[in-house]
Symmetry: C2
Subunit: 266 residues, 2 copies
């Protein structure tokens, strides 16, 4: 049995396109609808209440568009809001970035020291750490929030620019002095600068949550018998809650291709 309905993906902004890219790669048959809440980005320094309300509004908007599953492609919304919302939306599978990336990190570490970087809200929630500890209490977690990485990436400063290198040094020098052999990129913007992070932390495995989520989504579609087995070309649609002047450049940064984006009211 095949299911043509699209997969809903959302993020606070356009960073979740790095997750969408991994979903296209692993699940080339699946149609998708992406919503970026660009009127209220970034979520990373907002309160738990605000992030939970915004997340609910976006899930509701995707349900109205008849999606068959929802991917929360946002570290902050996955950390802060998903645990409170999963019960309220039993009619549809919802996956966030926390569990898939945490499982992946646990399976990769040999030193039993895992680093986690993310926004202020993600790190304050310790959601990656809590999940990892449940899986293996002997693993030590090294958390670090990196609030400037998102605006730096959105400015297109993604190569070896001194601003990026100074920010990496500022945030990651403590991690460099630990025994971590694995680092979770706990924000969907971070894969864009993974080369510079890898240069600063040589030998450390970087976990791209987008890759982990695409694998988890694949299992979920198969287990629920809702994968699209038709050979028809999939359709990918993109919505944002506010259209600003340079979003097309930013989208190209994340996705590596040009897309056309429509405005949606939430």
């Amino acid at each position: 049995m095949s299911n043509h309905r699209p997969i809903g993906i959302f993020d606070s902004g356009l960073g979740g396109l790095t997750v969408a890219k991994e979903i296209y790669r692993l699940l080339p048959n699946e149609s998708t609808i992406y919503i970026g809440d660009t009127a209220r980005v970034p979520y990373g320094n907002r309160s738990r209440e605000a992030v939970t309300q915004f997340t609910q509004e976006l899930i509701d908007a995707l349900l109205t568009l008849d999606v068959k599953a929802v991917v929360i492609a946002c570290g902050t919304a996955s950390s802060v809001a998903l645990p409170n919302l999963q019960d309220a939306y039993k009619q549809i599978p919802i996956i966030g970035v926390i569990e898939p990336a945490a499982e992946n990190a646990v399976s990769v570490t040999t030193s039993n020291h895992i680093g986690v970087i993310g926004t202020q809200a993600t790190i304050a929630s310790n959601s990656f750490g809590n999940f990892i500890k449940k899986s293996n209490p002997h693993i030590e977690i090294h958390n670090q929030s990196c609030p400037l990485f998102v605006p730096i990436v959105e400015e297109g400063i993604i190569n070896d620019h001194p601003i990026l290198l100074e920010a990496i040094k500022h945030y990651l020098n403590k991690l460099q002095q630990t025994q971590i052999d694995t680092l979770i990129l706990g924000c969907t913007h971070y894969p864009i600068i993974s080369h510079a992070i890898a240069d600063y932390l040589p030998g450390v495995n970087l976990i791209n949550a987008g890759v982990s989520v695409a694998q988890e989504l694949n299992h979920l579609l198969i287990n629920n018998h809702i994968e699209n087995t038709s050979a028809k070309s999939p359709r990918h649609r993109y919505f944002v809650t506010d259209i600003n002047q340079n979003f097309e450049e930013v989208a190209q940064t994340f996705l590596g291709k040009q897309i056309s984006i429509e405005k949606i009211a939430i």
Copy 2:
């Protein structure tokens, strides 16, 4: 005749507290109500439509609180929204940061080259430049948007940290090669880093829009006979649309003192 009603001040976030500080200094009798739209900060990279809608909602909220005048302590809202809204709110004086700061810059320059720095939206609107050209068409304007300055200041990176110095070099090196003798700090966050900007552009007059706005507000209160001449201590109240964990630190950065902040629904 005296008027005890407060002055309403708003900004997208807490940066407008630099303007509030100058108002307290020049008008120590006046009570104020400050609203920071922290649920939707930053405005600088949002569309004109979004910024106009947010600005209307904030003015309406201040009117409900019975203010006698409104100060738009936000470069972006002043640039993008105020010109369209002044007619709609004839019942109350509204002043933004553009005209006072532009007038101040015109009166100070002798080289007739004025630099303007601000958010993406402020610079794209060229609102400072348009006002200056109306006043003196012989003045040449040098615009530069500096999107990373706001998140850097909000991270508390305000001293001579390499991230700040690299960002200043990145954005201001073109201005260094012009004949500007005056630079408008077109965003309320920027006075916090004016010492580092001054070091990079020695001999250039920096125009703090907060100081210009306080002077303009003083004239406006006197001309409208609505100044508070009572000797009673003024009251200053602070509202935000979202309360996050580190706003008190950020407020202290801007205002130089601790304050208590309440949440308001917009």
